[in-house]
Amino acid sequence: MNFLTDHLLTWILFIPTVGAALLLFVPGGKVKFIRIASLVISVLPLLLTLYLWSLYQSPDQAGTFRFEENYPWFTAINSSYHLGIDGVSLAMLLLTTILTPLAILTSFNIKERVKAFMILFLVLETGMLGVFMALDLLLFFVFWEIGLVPMYFLINQWGGEKRNYASLKFILFTMGGSLGLLLAIQMIGVISGTFDLVTITQSWPALNEGVMFGIPVATVKAVAFWAFIIAFAIKVPVWPFHTWLPDAHTEAPTGGSMILAGVLLKLGAYGFIRLVLPLFPQESARFAGWLAALATAAIVFGALAAAAQKDFKRLVAYSSINHMGFVVLGIAAAAWAAASTNPAIRESAVIALNGSVLQMFNHGLSAAGMFFLVGVIYDRAHTRKLEDFGGLYAILPIYGSILIFTSMASLGLPGLNGFVSEFMIVRGVWPIFTLWIALGMIGLLFTGVYVLKALTLTLHGPLNEKWSGKLSEINLRELWVIVPLMVLMLSIGLWPSWILNLINSTVMTWF
């Protein structure tokens, strides 16, 4: 048992990869077995993460990071295999391990090359989990890239009509960001003599004088800062780096879209919280206003563009830009407030950042749910065009009610999860960026417009007679995917403290 608890993070991290490696030896024709096996493999990290969570509360796990594992890795460059988590990363681990089995269950409808699909999916999970656990910059980068490659293949091989364009755009865009990220990590590593995040967090922000490669340190830091910002801004994505998202999300297979929206976007936001804020406190505070402006642009333009969509899936994709804008706005407020000594402002920053992390979690649930539901209707109707539907509520009452429920969570209806995090972000940002949050209200209004547009055109109105008797109601397997998500959405909406306590306990130590 000790062996398990001492290396709990490693277990969680590599079970999917090991499972994927084992699947390699299964003949590709045994489709049913492969599906079940992948599901079981992906459930194991979830169970272990729940176990991790139960241990996390115990008092002997004190310190900033818990469950740390630290072994030399690239000794030549002082990079180590250093894992560890705090409340924020644990929340993200939960999100990842919850969504992956659900996405795999969704992907049971994949009929071609099932084995390859499932293996890629499991490798993808390791990549995502690694980013949330890594406490070494180089390790962080490696996992960051590992997450990228399987997703490229998932889109490119199992995607929709324009999958080549979408996957290429996705990988080039993200690679473009990664390039700067890699260089910045190199610089930091070389200057600090280590890649260990905990050590660097103590030394790097204080480093303000001196010359490096013949360039003043301040300039070097500014370059590194912007490299980080751009890499993460692309991933989130922040306006105007967002145009890869609608294409990639729309063309990806349903399970891929769920993970893409549910987890991969969070990697960017997590990067802001884990790397940018601690490593560049002064620069963050100085440029927070700009970041807030871009986040507001994402909120407003994301909602407006979503309202203009005619394709259901694209509409949902644009809604992600809108929702992730709130995450970044909360982070920007926290970045600004870190330089302030006013206790009221610092309290607002805690609320804003709590809201941001919770919004990451919430968006993971609702976006995954929405993409899933779009997938359900696409599987049956083979179209995603909103105007092709109409009046489906009369023939699909259960599906319709679930769609309404999930849409309302996405819209931020109080009583469901989205409201809690949006309320916290609006509250936290208000005293810091009053103007931006006020403008963000336009986005909130248009969230209502596009959500109702989608509901209205699919479910309401006169029944489009061509579907009469053609569409079957949501099936049991699909219910197993969506019901857990609905339960989570409702439970956070009614009683947010069960997850928020975890986040809050970490965030409040930063201010």
Partner: protein, 726 residues
């Protein structure tokens, strides 16, 4: 059980009812409405227990029942939610519980429980009727609503949200109930979603109220940021906080915080209570089934808007002393309320749909309440809120009964006429006596018929409040609107019930079942009698007998003493005059209206003005042109097509094209001739990994994995090289 725990329990039964119906009971209509009724009944009993206890408690205003729990962790502190019962809550609970229960009972009959299933009925469309054979003859009878169970589920959820809002001790939980109600109203207005008009009306209601809500959200976070809490009692009873709000300047327009917060919150009321300029959603919301109209547009949801303003009145009036100059939020409130009262009462004059008249009258009456609140007549506003809830719920339900009777006639005759158009009615008092007498009670209360109706006492209280505070303009405008109110009420009563039937459908209309008329009778008792709890002491003769209980009870909410102004006879005489005059005039003008095709008598005398009123001043068309079309155009053409597709993607595609061009250049001008095809990787790489990978897409998983791992290894090598070279 203590009152505090009882307060927590009040909203629970309808919520449980909703869940049970939605998950289990929906297959059985009987089980569904039984569960819904049980839920509403339990909440009713709990509410009444609280009301009885609260009324008997001394100093409830300064020392209310309250209890709260931690809800949201915010750093080292918590945001708490909880329940509260003070005099205002008590009044709300009283009328909300009664009206909700009556509406639930009425809905059973309205949706034709016990009737056969129609052959052509389907979910999303109103039932069209079923054919039955009796004594060898086939005839058409009303059929049961296909989504009967769903209706009761949603109604229960709605009731839950309203109770939640009422018992809340903080703005946060109030907002939660407020928004859930908004969602339910969207859904219930669009209940017959198969109708194009219903689906549009639902969206319109949701989006229009959401405009108010986003401002309200800002007001809420501003209040929370400034005071560190959203609890009503904590904020209002803390003098330091109130002085800080009234004395500190906010960053907006140089207003102080209480002004800014007050106005932002009031925007929520404008949306929810359908005040000008956001009034447009409410008349369209008549697309919903009639019990919904009663619930949303009379008894509960629109009242919630006014209730919220009353609740936060201490902030809006911070720094104001009775008799002193009004604060900015109060001026705004009085101006919007007064204008709306007049504006919409004129529109009501020209409507032909029985429910639309009531809808505009609701907006107008809500304007009265806000005008009263704006000039500081706090008690009068609460009083009118209560009496209005009773008589307007009564009117809506009675109008539903009329429509039901007319539909019966339409089915019987088989002639397709609009059963809601008042011009097609006439003479219904003989066919539907119970509906007529109860409708009459409601109509008289609405027009403020002197002494015997509740509406008179509350409206008189508002008019005398305006007069006593020397707001001459407001007084005059409200008096004129009261005249119009009485006039259109008389018009409605005359067109619907008096004279002779103008269509065969009206001739064959029949009285509704007991399950529908019984709630009407209960509500009409309150529409008459509830006003007597608030007869002012200064009123001639009756005042001597009256304890003026209501004024004392609700007045204890206020931080200041309410001075009984010397009672003047002018407002009293005016309110009697406009009420009786309007009723008489309306009857005189419309009693000769004999055929459905005839032009409206007002149309003859007013001409184009009448048409303009009938078209609601063309506000809808204006909004469509000025707000809706442009914003959709911006969303599509500017943000999506131009910014995203043209500018951003255009730039990206440009970069890609240049890379490809560069790659080709290097390849054919340098690589091929110079290196002789030795390394043509560069061009291919820039051309896109996709092209390269395309060749690898043979579907073999081993290959993908090799590539995945390969890329990782290469990345690692690059890192190593970079590091070593430095």
């Amino acid at each position: 059980m203590s009152i505090n725990s009882l307060l927590w329990l009040i909203p629970v039964p309808p919520l449980v009812g909703f869940i049970l119906i939605a998950l289990i009971a929906y297959r059985s209509n009987r089980a569904s409405h039984s569960i819904a009724l049980l839920g509403a009944g339990l909440s009713f009993l709990a509410s009444m227990a609280v009301v009885i206890k609260a009324v008997a408690t001394h100093d409830l205003g300064s020392d209310p029942f309250t209890s709260s729990i931690n809800w949201l962790p915010t750093g080292a502190t918590w945001l708490r939610i909880g329940v509260l019962a003070d005099p205002l809550t008590t009044v709300m609970l009283f009328f909300v519980a009664i009206t909700i229960l009556m509406i639930f009972i009425y809905s059973i009959g309205y949706h034709n429980y016990g009737q056969p299933v129609g052959k052509h009925d389907r979910p999303g469309l109103p039932p069209e009727g079923a054919e039955v054979t009796e004594h060898g003859k086939v005839h058409k009878v009303p059929s049961i609503e296909p989504m009967y169970a769903k209706f009761f589920a949603l109604l229960s959820l709605f009731a839950f949200a309203m109770y939640l809002l009422v018992v809340s001790d903080s703005l946060l939980m109030l907002y939660i109930g407020w928004e859930i109600m908004g969602f339910c109203s969207y859904f219930l207005i669009g209940f017959w979603y198969g109708k194009e008009s219903a689906r549009k009306a639902g969206i319109k209601a949701f989006i229009t109220t959401r405009i108010g809500d986003v401002f309200m959200l800002l007001g809420m976070v501003a209040l929370y940021s400034a005071t560190g809490t959203l609890n009503f009692h904590d904020i209002f009873s803390n003098h330091e906080t109130m002085e800080m709000l009234a004395g500190t300047v906010s960053p907006v327009f140089g207003w102080n915080w209480s002004t800014l917060i007050g106005i932002l919150l009031f925007c929520g009321t404008i949306g929810k209570s359908a005040q000008f300029p956001l009034h447009v959603w409410l008349p369209d919301a008549m697309e919903g089934p009639t019990p919904v109209s009663a619930m949303i547009h009379a008894a509960t949801m629109v009242s919630a808007g006014v209730y919220m303003s009353i609740r936060v009145f201490p902030i809006m009036s911070a720094g104001w002393e009775p008799g002193g100059a009004l604060t900015t939020p109060m001026v705004v409130m009085a101006a919007i309320g007064t204008f709306t009262a007049l504006f919409t009462s004129t529109i009501a004059l020209a409507q032909n749909d029985i429910k639309r008249v009531l809808a505009y009258s609701t907006i107008s009456q809500l304007g009265y309440m806000l005008a009263a609140l704006g000039i500081g007549a706090y008690v009068a506003a609460v009083f009118h809120l209560m009496t209005h809830a009773f008589f307007k719920a009564l009117l809506f339900l009675a109008s539903g009964s009329v429509i039901h009777g007319m539909e019966h006639g339409v089915l019987h005759t088989g002639k397709h006429i609009d059963p809601q158009d008042m011009r097609n009615m006439g003479g219904l008092r003989k066919k539907m006596p119970a509906t007529f007498w109860t409708f009459l009670a409601g109509g008289l209360a609405l027009s403020g018929f002197p002494i015997i109706t509740a509406g008179f006492w509350s409206k008189d209280e508002i008019l005398s409040g305006a007069f006593a505070s020397h707001q001459v303009l407001i007084f005059v405008v409200l008096a004129v609107s009261a005249l119009f109110t009485a006039f259109y009420t008389a018009r409605q009563l005359t067109l619907v019930f008096l004279g002779n039937p103008r269509t065969t459908a009206a001739e064959h209309a029949s009285e509704s079942k007991k399950v529908m008329t019984l709630p009407l009778v209960v509500l009409s008792i309150f529409a008459i009698a509830i006003g007597w709890v608030g007869i002012p002491k200064a009123f001639p003769v009756l005042g001597k007998l009256s304890p003026a209980w209501f004024q004392d009870f609700v007045g204890s909410m206020l931080a200041y003493e309410v001075h009984e102004e010397a009672h003047s006879y002018i407002p009293l005489l005016v309110s009697i005059l406009v009420s009786l005059g309007g009723l008489l005039l309306g009857w005189l003008v419309y009693r000769k209206y004999n055929t459905a095709e005839e032009r409206d008598p007002l149309h003859k005398s007013l001409g184009g003005v009448f048409t303009f009123l009938q078209n609601k001043y063309k506000v809808d068309e204006l909004y469509q042109k000025v707000f809706i079309d442009p914003s959709l155009w911006i969303a599509d053409k500017v943000v999506y097509q131009f910014l995203d597709l043209k500018i951003i993607d255009g730039f990206l595609h440009g970069v890609a094209a240049i890379s490809v061009w560069l790659g080709n250049l290097l390849r054919y001008k340098f690589d091929v001739p110079v290196v002789n095809g030795g390394g043509d990787g560069l061009a291919k790489t820039t051309r896109g990994t996709g092209w390269l990978l395309h060749k690898q897409q043979t579907g073999k998983v081993q290959q993908y994995l090799t590539i995945s791992i390969g890329i990782t290894v290469i990345a690692g090598l690059i890192i190593l090289m970079l590091v070593i070279s430095v």
